[in-house]
Each structure stands twice: as C-alpha cells, then as structure tokens.
Symmetry: C2
C-alpha cells in the first residue's frame, strides 16, 4: 500500500525538509520544524502524488487514501486534545495547498474548517468568546462557499454591508456576537438559495470537499499562468496540508506575525518582521491595520510609533529570536517565517527560504560564506545570475504609480524615461539640444545606430529577442522593449496608438526593459549601485569557472564596457557595424554599385584606413586578449541607399545614373535575405572584400604590436560556412593578405582562421570543416533560425501563442533549444574535435549570455562563451555555477 | 617498380577493356581489340596514374617512366617493322589523350610525329609519294607547333594562303610536292621567328614534348569547363596513347571512315557509317568532302549518289561487317568505331560505346534484351532516366539556326516559341484571341497561375530550380527557363533587354527549358513520340523497383497527367494552390482580414464548398490510390491584395476601411517569410483553418466512397512541424473534424495524419514526432533551404559562382545534398522507424524526380518518391535502377 499521508506535530514528523517534491514546500518544512522540536500545530500532508493520481484518474483518489486520512486525523486529535466535529471540544483545521515551488496566492485555502451549528458552541466554550466564535464561523462559511462551493464572495459582502447599513454601523468591529450569529444564518440561506441545497454541516464532508477544491485549484487559470511564467511543470502537482487551527485573534494574549531571519531588502544580518496583537495572519498582510515592528531596532529604523513585540511580549520575542536562530542555522539560508501566538503560546506556522532583492541575495550569500554558514561555492550557487541585471541597470521605483500602455518583449534590461521620437535623426537633434528621448520605431536598422546610441531607451513594435534593436541595445546597455505588437505607429502623423490611447512625438513615456512594459509619463527609477560584495562574489566565481567569458563588441565604447565587466577578450566583432558611419557608407555603396572588380577595389581602398583604424582601437583596448573578428556578413542590400536624396548622392559620387542605382538595389533585394547572398557567400563572389578586411586586421595588429610591444592575436572568423571548400577558399584569401602585409611591413603576428558554425550543414560537416578551421564559434542566433526554420524578426507574432500552447517553454532565441539546436552543437563539437583535438570552441550567439544556455555550453565542453558587454557578469557567474554543478551533480536553482 | 606503360598490337596487349580507369577509354579499347585479334596499329598507353603524379609533383614524371616508354617503343618498332627516327624506314606515331570518360575534342592530339628533314625522305620511300610525304610533314609541323609549342594555327594558314595567292591557286589539292616542301621550310622559319629557337627535329624530343602537352591539356580551360558540365572529377586524369600511324590518304587503295553497329539516331539494328577514299580521318568529320555511305542500304536511305564502300571495296566491307559483329557481340552494346584502310589493309583505330539519341537508346536496349544480348535488367540500367525527358517534351530541331540571347536555369524541360508578354493577364487575353505566348516575369507568384497555364513557356529573371515558376511549370509540363539574371525587365516600357538587345512585348522568342537557353525568334521544334518500346521498358522497370512513385499534383489536369504517366497516388497535394481562383481568393482575404475567430470562421465557411469540390475531383481521379494532402502552408500575406483595386474590393466585401486592409497587409509582411508565420504555425494560431480543410477532406472522401463504392485513403499532412507538440495539437484538430463529419454523415473513412520533415529540428526530433506521426514525407526543398541556410529564390545570383569554384558540384535544389540534407533524412528515417517500426516514409520535394536523389532515397529505405507529373516516368526508371543497383552493387552509368 502506498503512503499518501504524512503526519507531523508534537516534536516529531513522518516527513522531512528534503521531501519537498512529495510534500510541497509548506508540508516539508512543517515536518522539519516539528522534528526540530519547534512548536507547530499538529497536522498532516496529503502528497503531490495524490494530486497527480487525481488528475490521471479523472478526479478519483487513489485507494487507501481515506483510511490514511482518518488515521492521521485521529493522531492530530490526540495531540491537540480535541475532536473533529465534537460539539464540546471541537478540533478545527486549515486546508492549504503547498507545491514544490512557492506559488503565492495562486491556489486556494480554507480556514476554520470543522465548524457547524454544533461545534461553534464548543468553540464558544474553548475561547469563552461568542463573538469570536460566530465571527470565525461566518468567515469559514464565506471562504468555504467561495473556494469549494463556487458561491462568490460578493454575495456575502452584500449581506454584511446591508446588515451594517440596517443597523447604522460602518466597521466590522462594531458588530457583536448576535450580529455574526444572524449573518451565519443569512449566509447559509444564501448558499441554499444559490445552490438549491444546504451548506454542508458534516465536518468530514467539509474536509473532503476542501481537499478536492485545493487539488482542483492546481489547474485554475491563475495557477496555470503563474506556472508558465515561472517555468513550473504542470506534472509536479500540489500537496494538501491539513493542520489544526491556532488563533491569533482570540484576545490580547494572542498575536500573529511574519518575520525574516535577515533583512530581505538589504540583506543586512538583522532580525526583521512585523506583527499584530489579537489578529489573524491575513490582517498583517492585508494592510487594514498598520503592522508593528517585532524588534526595537526595527521600530527605530522605520520610525514607527507603535510598540515593538520586543517591548510588548519580551519573553515570547526571545523565544521567537531563538527559533529564528535555530531555523536559519538549520536551513543555512535566510528564512521567511510565519507565527501565531494563541493564549501566550508561540506556534510556528511556516518557514521557508525567503525571497529577497538581488542586492540582498548578494550580501546574504557573501556574508553567510564569511560567517562560515555556507561555503563560497554555495554562495556562488545561491545567486540567480539573471538577478545581477538588477544590479547593473536602473530599475523602476517599485513604489511609484504606473500607467501601463502595453507589454512587449523584455529585450534589454533597465528602466528609462524620455520624450518619444520616431526617427534616429530626430533623436540625435533633440538630444543635441538637451532632451532625453525614447526612440520608437516599427523596427530598427543599422542606419539607426547613431540615434539608438543617444536614446535613453528603444521601443520597437516588431522583431524578437534577437532583432537588430534588441541585440544592439543589449550591447549598449540601453533599455529596450521590442516587438510591442499592439502599438500602431504612424510615422507620417508623428504618433502611435495603443489600446485607444494616442502618444505623440514629444510625449514622455517610460520603458522597463527587464519586464517589457511601456508606461505613460515619467516613472521614477532607482539607480544601480555596485557593492564590494559584487566584486567578492565575482572573484569567487572566476576562480571556479572553467569556461572563459568574452564579449560581443565592436565599438570602443562597447569594448571598454565589456572590459570593465571583466570580459576576457572579444568573441564576436561584427565588422559590418563599422560601415554605417556616413563617411564610410558612401564607399560601401560605391563598392556595391561597381560593375567590376576594379571598381570594387577602388572603393574598398577608401574603406581600408577606416577599417584599420577600428581594429587599432579595439586591439589597443583588448591588449593581450584574443579578439575574434567576423568578416563581412549581412546581405549587401542592407547598405543600399533608400531615400531619393541618398540615391542621388551615391549616383553623383559614383558617377553613374540614378536609374542604375535603383536597378542595382532591385537586383540585390531578396525574398529571404537571411538565407541569401550574405556571409562567406559575399567573400566567395567578391574575394576583394575579405582581402581588404584581412589587410586592415594585419596592418592594425602590426601597428599595435609596435605600439604596445606585444602583438594581439586576431582570430579571423568566416561567417555562414556550409562546406569545407568555402572555408578553404576564404582562408586562402586571408593567408595571402597576411603574407602580403607581413612582407610589406617586415613584421609578423600570429593569427588563426576559423568559422562560425551557424548552419545545420556546417554542424553535420564539422569533421570535414575542422580540417581547415582552427576554431569554431557557434552562431546560435542563425543556427536557431535555420534549425527551427524560424525567423527571429518575424516570429514575435506567434511565439507568444506557441508559449501559451506549451510548444516552446522558453523563447528559443533567448534560451538555447537544447533538443534541436543543442544536438547540432554537440554533434559539431564532437566531430570537430575528432578531426582536430583541442579545437577551440566558443559560442557567440545571444545565448552566450543566458545562464541555462551557458550550463549547456559547459556540458558540451565549450572553451568560452561570448555575450553582450552588460551580460558579462551574468555569464561569469553562470559559468561558475555550471562548472560547480558539472563536478558535484547539484540541481539547478528553482 | 610501378607499371606506367601498357603495350598493345599484333594480336595481344597488356591492357584490357575493364582497365578504363588506368588506360582511358581509348587505350583500354585498343588493348581489348588487340586481344580480340582485330588489326590495330601497334602502340602503347601511358596511364592516368602518370597524369595524376605529373600534377601532384609539379609537372615531373615518375621514376621509371622513361625506360618503360623506350621499351614499349622498341616493341612497336618490332611489330610494325620500322624504326622511330630512321631516315630510310621511319616509324611515325600519333599521340592522343584518352580519359576515363569521353571528352570529345577537349584535349590535344598530335599526328605524324617522328617526321623531320631526314625521316620525310624515308616516308617518300615507303609511300612512293613525295607530295603526300611533304604534306604530312607540314601538317605535323602545324599541329605540333600549335599544340606543343604554342605557335598558333593562323600563322601557318597565313603563309599557306599567301603562297596560294602568289601562285594564283585556290585549293590545297592544287599544290604539289615542291609547294609543300617550300611551305615546310617557311613553317619552320616562322617557328624560329616566333620562339627564337628552331623547330625540334629530334623525334624523341618531339615525343616527350607531345606527351607533356597532352597531359597539360587536361588542365586547359576548355577541358575544365567540360568536366564541370559533365560531372567528371579532375582527379581522374587522362592517359596518353602513342600509336603507330596508318594512312588513309596514301592513294586510292586507302580510305578512312567511322561507323556505328546500329543506327545512333533511331536505334535500328542496321550497320551505319560513312567513309572516304584516300582521305584522313579528319576529312570525314570536317565536311570539306561529302562522306559516302558504307552500305548500299545506307546509300539508298540517304539518297546518296556516291558509291558505297560495300560496292567499291566489297571484300574490305565484309571484313568490316565481321569486325562490327565481333565488337558488338563482345561489348554487348552499340559500338562507335573508326577505321583506316592503308594499301588495302583494314586497321581499326578505335571502338567505344556509341552515343545515341534518347529514342535510339530505348530501342537498342529493348531490342538487345529481346535478342538475348543483354538481360532486361541491363536494359533498364542502360537508359539514362533524364534522357526520357526528350521523349516526353518537344525538343529544338538540332539542325535549326539559333540566335541565343542568354542562358538561365533549365527549370522545366521542353522547347516552345511564342510572343513575349509581361503579365499573366495579358497572357490570358492574348491566348484567348488565338496567340501563343511566352510569359516573361522577374518572378512569378501564385496569382500568375492562370497566365502560366495558358502560356507556351515561362521565363523568369530571378529564382532557382525550385522557385515558384520552376515548380509550377514542371507540374504543368510547360517549358521554363528560370533565373535568367542577365535579362533586365522593364514592365512599364513593356520590354526586356539582354546583351544590348531589346525584346518588346509581342516579339517572338523561343525557350529551351532542358538547356536553359533563350533564343530570339521562332526556332523549329520536334514533337515527342512515345513508342511501344517505352511501355515495354517501363513495365520492366516497374517489375524491378521497390519504391512507389507518386506525383505532386493538385489540379485535375495535373492529376490526370500524372496518372497517365503511371503514378501510384499523390504524394503532395498543396492545398494553397486551390485558393487563388478569384471566387476563392476574396474569401481567403476576408479570412485574413478578420479581426476575430468568428470573422475567420464566416469566411472559411464560404471556402468549404470549393475546397470540398477540389478534393472530390482529386479523389475521383485517384480512385483506389493514396492521396497525401498538405494543409495550408504559405505565409498568409501571399494571399493579400496588392493593387489599389484589389484593396478596395476586399475592403468593400469585408465591410472595412481600406486603411485597415493596408495596415493588416503591413502587419503580415515579413522580412523572411520562408522562416515566418506559415505551415503549421498558421494551424496553431488559427486552428479553424485546418479544421475547415480537414472537414472538406472528410466530406469529400465520404462523397466519393458512396459514388465509387470504395473509399479513398486520405493521408493528411501537417507542414513545417518542428516539435511533437505542434503535431499533437494539429492532429487533435483533424481528429475532431473527422469525428464531427463522421457523426453528421453517418459514415467513416480510414485516414492517417502525418507530417512533413522539412526542418532540421524535425529530423533530429523524428523519434519523438513519430510517436504521433503516422507517416513522414521529406520536404527536401525546405529542408535544403534550412540545412544549407540557402533561399531557393535568392541563390541563383551566386550558385553559378559556387559551382564554378567547386563548392557545390550540382545545384542542391536539383540534386539532394547527400552530405548535409541527406544525413538529416537518414537520421530522421532511423529515429522515426525506431519509434514506429514500419513508419511510411516518402519524399515530396523536387528531388523526388531527380535520379541521383532517388538512388539516395532507395539507400535510406524510403517507401516512395513523389515528383511532378512529367517526371513520373523518370522516377519510375530511376527507382528501378536504384533497386537493381542496391542488390548487385553496380556502378552508376557515366
């Protein structure tokens, strides 16, 4: 016979803290506290396996459950010295859900269960307080009817309000025992009226109905949504804990409160909490009465006029402090506890690991490690790498009021306000005259870079997590909300509309790039502050990780930011971004328009000094560190002129007819540019482009070698390779340029030539490609696009539906699709290294900054990850966690 | 010591016919004839391995070669009774290339080698003809200088012409011995003048220089191009055959000729050939003298006034017939032979398998099998499946003059002429008034279908072998040249320009869809004729193949054509093609524009009867055969209105504002539609679309079940699946529709639900997807696009460069990329069948009609291939060949 029910109470328990999967967080911790000898109201937990069986078997309970519940209930009666349904000395219980992961407020709870017209008399005897007893009874009817019977709350509120009106009263506290007794009758009559049958008076019937309702609430819409947002699998199920009631509202020797073993906002090692005398738990949270501080220190710090528990109940306070010490030492982490004092006796109702701000998490982890409570490895594993973002970017003031206009994708973290502008040019103009702006575009293109750089934030209505706007904004550390599809932009009219509201150029909006929200007006933000703890934790992390962390960066600004955040080189320098400067784009355009190689070479010669200058700057910043440079990648038409003015300009400079420019642009336009004439295909068809770029790299490297005394080691990367032969041809071009430059300048630098693995074919052919490639860098953006057949720019419109319908749990552009893309990465790594042992492997797609993806990279043995500058610290921490978990098999944090 | 040189002559030889790889076709067959006791001038062959070594070692010969050549030459001297360089009785030789595969005219040849001022005297003695000897000498100098020394032909032509002019003569035959002697002097002086050194007189020096030149010609541009066009690997190399000269021009008891053991044009079993008395081989081919027929029958058939060899040299003719019988019986195939008669003795100079027309190939194979010369399996293997295309489509009259404007991709075979039109509407108008038209478009879209249907041929300037135009044209059997990128279309002006020529609307052009050429004016064509032999061979093929052959078809016209060509069901019915009819597209547009599900359902309800009608027709034609129906696949914006008129029409019918239509169109537009909101993503976001389609299928199936008495078996195919969950969701929609229709109509049909495997992720996840999928169909068009990251519509611009540079040997959209795409197909087949043994596997990409790809499909165990109707016979034959080769490992035909 399976064990479905676990009892606890009276200093012992059948469960333990490590049985969370079976008993839920609440049930496991109640058992653990019971075993620790802490006073916990006796009870029992029905396991999550019952929940699973319940859903697998069409809402039927497994055999044996009833008997086990009866036995457990008898044990509770014995411990608590009261009997369920006893008219003289009734046992009352609470029925609560408790899942493996905390899902606050998502599922249902029933309190005071066991009350009926008989047992309420017993409660009067026990408490000596008829008003309290009838109040408890009506609360039970209200809650049970709402949660279990589906008779909604407002029915009862209405009756209560009518009664108060009739009697000319305004506060519940003004009602007496008779009022509540009368209301109990009216509540029950309402239930009879709504359901056509009476309110169940039988306590056992009440109990089973409540248990069923709690299991049922696992599948309510609220819970489903919460699980989806928090990556909690449906099959985990919930446990149900049935526990004897204790009352904090039975008189002035009663109280209830919540407390944290350390301050959850700052992480300071101080006992923090709030309580209320003669109150129920919900009163502390609900904000009807102002809660009081538990400690004198807290009272002073919060400038509270109300007495602290330390003053009012000094003995019980000491007991609570002792319990706090026991629990924190036992759980070795900051605890979030709930307690109730009934008739001068302290009962602990719950303990769990406390939620905390990113800053507090950092401080607690570092301090606990210093205090010897945990090891530094544990400290590393305690911090959610994603939470570091909060420490690096401004965040919205949580207390500020917000008018949310719409939600898009959280494309680049940070919060910012500014005046709406609809073009990069206007952005630059307005910023020059001292305005702060938010650039709003349907989508951005490389030509918008200037305007993006000066904007406080970027908002697009199209495009996904790896769209141009998102990638560039992350690189700059600028907040960005992308793909806010409900917004309709009208460039001509200079406005956008969303949900019936119109926002015009110059109106102020606020973006929260971490949440993806767009708000009207200026919402105050909090500036980030990096503490010494940050540096300490990063040092610990760096000592543990085995993968290097590089940055995707091409501008000196980005490169310097990345270096400040501790990158160990550049993993992806996208050379095309260097060509959008007005002085350069004109020559790129001339090159594209040239009808022959000679014409292209002439234009490229003009570009060479600029390109060389770019590399000189990068090499100087990254002195001594590796720099991976990707040769020209995007479809050429991205560089083409669009406006009539630009077309005329190019035609004039190139000395050709405007119609030729237009024709060439139409010839270059592609139906699916992502799969078109780009990457090494440009190098294959126009080798002189890659030749110029290689020359610029080698000339710059020699220049820096002379200046710094130590030569940089350029890693030259050929994009979009599908066959070994493409790489052979392109490597020959690079090698020839090296030979020529070395001969001209009379010097040499070491360099390597490798390839992006960003096409499924390249992954499959990695064994052959590695004969030529000296390194692989996984371009997982493109690899995701091709493996899934999914355009990063076009998928925003349906990816949300896909997530809702459970097809992709997470955006595959944000977190690497391990089953599909991951298998190709694994195949490529294995085949590549089989050909060339020690082949250097890295990842330079956006996934390089995603902790889950970084863990995957560790598992397949990559040498480094590369990510946007502002994600470097996240990657360093995530890499350390991955390294630690790969040694001792520790489960990922939930 | 390696053997580099193989001797032959005098009834024996060191080589054999099966040593083609080593000796080249010519050398191997000379050896074989020698072994058969046929009179062959003695000689020796330097192997292809020497060629490879020559190129691997910087143009140096391997050790031992010189000695082996000296020995072999001595043996030739002994057999022929003459000595190389002997002034009295000189041995003269020819030096010819001979590769494994025939490369006619691509490489160099030197005749009469060994002549110099001394040995020419010996030749005078041998022949008793000083004119002949000096003429031979000057021919040698001309040929050797051109081929070996690089002194071009025109120098000598000029001297010859000047001399004739001086003497007032016009024909070479009017020159005497003294003239030729003088010219020999002048020719040598010219060489001295051009090179600054004398013409080499030493025969051994001549020999080695000629051998080097022949090896060198393996890498001339002409040969490289030919190999690329004919898929001949460079590493095969060429052999060099040195053979003693025999002369057909030493008097009237001399002759030379070429003959075929059967008629190469018709395949008729009759001895066919031409000869000339007192002539050299080149005279027969060059067309200076009119060649005579060898047989009296041939003379009569060709109405030739000149005497046949059978009449002039009856004894030698009999000898030749006997040789023909020996060789055809020995080689068991039609032979193409060259012979020379010197002084009344017949010498065979070459025999090889003769080239033939497709019709002749068919007749010869079938008749030889009937004659018992070969088996029917061999007959099957003898026919190049691609050649069947010639039998199914009109071809250009090979004798007609052509003005070629440009070349594009050979997208759909057949030749056709017509007046140029630039839009589908004009095409329909003009055809209605009785014109024949060629539709010229930059690219075509589904809305052009009407115009494409009525056109004689289709020409596009953009797009590849699987572009819309190409796929549709092949389906219709209409000639198509696609991606002719040199053409510049100006729709406004109603003209196109190419290579400086302008072609206006109404001008006549001719397309050769098998070659990809575009010609000015009307070029006469030859209509195809299917003989009984075709049916016989197809029956033999059908008996041998293990894979089924289905057709990609959706219209009744296509389906009927496919059935006529012997398809065994439909492997791909694309339902979107059914929606472009004007009465339907308006409802598709309404559906897309609907803002909610109810609006979409209303529009879909209007479409249901049309869609049901389509399936009724298809099921009726395919009665008893499986029909795989792919649910809606393309991005919705393909259906959107483009012109202002269309927008107004849709807005009016849908009762919405035009600006809404425009906005919706802009929302639906995608940067990379191929990777966008299409395939099952439409079904996931708008399940009602697939629901309507499923309903139409089941209603139609029940209707036909009642009408025909036997229910069709619809195979419902979900496109663009990447995850099992997508298929689960879509299968649930289909199953629910089935349940509903079956309940309404009170009947049932068997059906299955499967998926396209057309994304790399789907291939990798095939094991999981096969839990739900009841069949897989490999959509290798999309799988190629995603695996290679290559857009079929955009790659035409660089694929040619890719082919020239040796990156892809064949267009990966025409012939399956076995290394990349093939590995994914293999993985998917294995994983799918591991989950579901007996899972039905097919291919429905364009590769399903490509013989090489069909062989691959056989190797991975697919159950069927599906291709366009006109390729069904090709696929049937290719499948039979693949089945035969997979049993007995026979090499593919060259």
């Amino acid at each position: 016979m399976s064990k479905w029910v676990y009892s606890f109470g009276n200093g012992k328990a059948e469960g333990r803290a490590d049985m969370k999967n079976l008993l839920g967080g609440k049930g496991a911790n109640l058992a653990e506290m019971s075993n620790l000898g802490i006073a916990v109201p006796a009870g029992f937990t029905i396991t999550t396996e019952v929940c699973t069986a319940f859903y697998d078997n069409d809402h039927a309970y497994p055999a044996g459950l009833t008997d086990q519940v009866v036995t457990a209930l008898a044990r509770v009666e014995e411990i608590m010295g009261a009997r369920f349904g006893d008219a003289n000395n009734p046992l009352l219980v609470s029925v609560r859900s408790g899942a493996r992961a905390s899902m606050p407020g998502m599922m249902d709870t029933v309190l005071n269960l066991g009350l009926n017209d008989q047992t309420v008399q017993g409660l009067i005897k026990q408490s000596g307080d008829a008003r309290f007893a009838y109040d408890s009874y009506r609360r039970f009817i209200q809650m049970f009817s709402d949660v279990v019977l589906g008779v909604e709350h407002y029915h009862f509120e209405e009756i209560l309000e009518n009664h108060k009106e009739d009697k000319g009263l305004s506060l519940d506290t003004e009602l007496g025992a008779d009022d509540w007794k009368l209301l109990v009758e009216r509540f029950k009559a309402k239930v009879q009226q709504e359901l056509g049958k009476p309110f169940p008076e039988n306590p056992e019937e009440q109990l089973w109905a409540a248990v069923g309702a709690v299991f049922g609430s696992w599948m309510n819409q609220r819970a489903i949504t919460y699980r989806r947002l928090n990556d909690i699998p449906q099959e985990w199920g919930t446990a149900v804990t049935v526990q004897s009631m204790v009352f904090g509202n039975m008189g002035d020797d009663c109280a209830t409160g919540v407390c944290f073993s350390r301050d959850p906002s700052t992480g300071e090692n101080t006992f923090y909490g709030e309580y209320l005398v003669n109150a129920q738990g919900e009163d502390v949270v609900a904000g009807i009465r102002t809660p009081q501080q538990i400690s004198i220190a807290g009272k002073e710090k919060n400038a509270s006029a109300l007495p602290a528990m330390e003053e009012v109940m000094p003995g019980l306070y000491k007991e609570l402090v002792a319990t706090r010490d026991v629990l924190e030492a036992h759980y070795r982490d900051m605890q979030d506890m709930e307690f109730t004092i009934q008739g001068g006796k302290l009962w602990m109702l719950q303990t769990r690991t406390g939620k905390r701000t990113a800053g507090a998490a950092l401080r607690i982890a570092v301090e606990m490690a210093r205090e010897g409570i945990i090891t530094s490895d544990e400290a590393i594993l305690r911090i959610d790498p994603e939470a570091l973002d909060q420490l690096l970017h401004p965040t919205l003031d949580p207390k500020a009021a917000k008018i949310v206009l719409t939600k898009g994708l959280p494309a680049s973290p940070g919060a910012a306000s500014g005046k709406v502008v609809f073009s990069a040019e206007v952005a630059e103009d307005w910023v020059q005259r001292g305005e702060k702006v938010i650039l709003v575009r349907i989508e951005t293109s490389p030509e918008d870079i200037g305007g993006m750089h000066v904007s406080q934030g970027i908002l697009t209505t199209r495009g996904g997590m790896t769209s141009h706007a998102a990638v560039v904004a992350r690189g700059m550390g600028t907040p960005c909300v992308a793909g806010a599809g409900e917004i309709r932009v009208d460039y001509k009219a200079g406005l956008f509309t969303v949900g019936g509201k119109t926002v015009r150029e110059g109106d102020i909006i606020t973006l929260d790039g971490a949440a993806g929200t767009v708000m009207l007006g200026a919402v105050p933000t909090i500036q980030p502050e990096l503490t010494g703890d940050f540096g300490v934790l990063m040092d610990w992390a760096d000592a543990k990780r085995t993968m290097k962390v590089r940055a995707n960066a091409e501008t000196p600004v980005d490169a310097e930011a990345a270096k400040r955040f501790g990158c160990e080189g550049i993993g992806l320098c996208r050379t095309e971004h260097m060509f959008f400067d007005p002085r350069r784009i004109i020559n790129i355009r001339r090159m594209i328009l040239a009808s022959d190689e000679a014409g292209r070479r002439a234009a490229l010669a003009e570009l060479l000094p600029y390109q060389r200058g770019d590399f000189v700057e990068l090499f100087r910043i990254m002195a001594g560190l590796p720099v991976t440079i990707r040769l020209l990648d995007p479809p050429l038409h991205e560089f083409l002129p669009h406006t009539d003015g630009e077309i005329a300009e190019v035609a004039a400079i190139a000395g050709v007819d405007e119609s030729l420019v237009r024709h060439r642009a139409s010839v270059l336009s592609e139906s699916n540019p992502m799969l078109g004439h780009r990457g090494c295909r440009l190098g294959v068809t126009y080798p002189e482009i890659y030749e110029m770029q290689a020359r610029a790299i080698f000339e710059a490297a020699l220049e820096i070698a002379q200046e710094v005394g130590e030569a940089p080691v350029p890693e030259i990367m050929i994009p979009l390779v599908a066959t070994k032969r493409e790489l052979d041809l392109m490597k020959a071009v690079v090698d020839a340029a090296a030979k020529a430059v070395f001969a001209e300048k009379g010097g040499e630098v070491t360099y390597s030539v490798g390839t992006m693995i960003e096409l499924p074919r390249a992954a499959l052919q990695a064994g052959s490609i590695a004969q030529t490639a000296q390194f692989f860098s996984f371009g997982t953006n493109d690899l995701t696009q091709t493996t899934l057949g999914l355009s990063r720019d076009d998928s925003a419109s349906f990816l949300e539906t896909y997530r809702v319908k459970g097809i992709y749990e997470r955006d595959p552009f944000a977190s690497l699709d391990v089953e599909g893309v991951g298998e190709l990465v694994k195949i490529a790594a294995e085949r590549g290294r089989a050909t060339r042992p020690g082949l250097k492997l890295g990842i330079c797609g956006e996934h390089g900054g995603d902790p889950q993806s970084i863990a995957f990279c560790q598992s397949v043995g990559l040498d480094y990850v590369s990510c946007s500058p502002y994600r470097v610290p996240i990657a360093r921490l995530a890499a350390a966690q991955a390294a630690l978990r790969s040694v001792v098999k520790q489960p990922a944090m939930v």
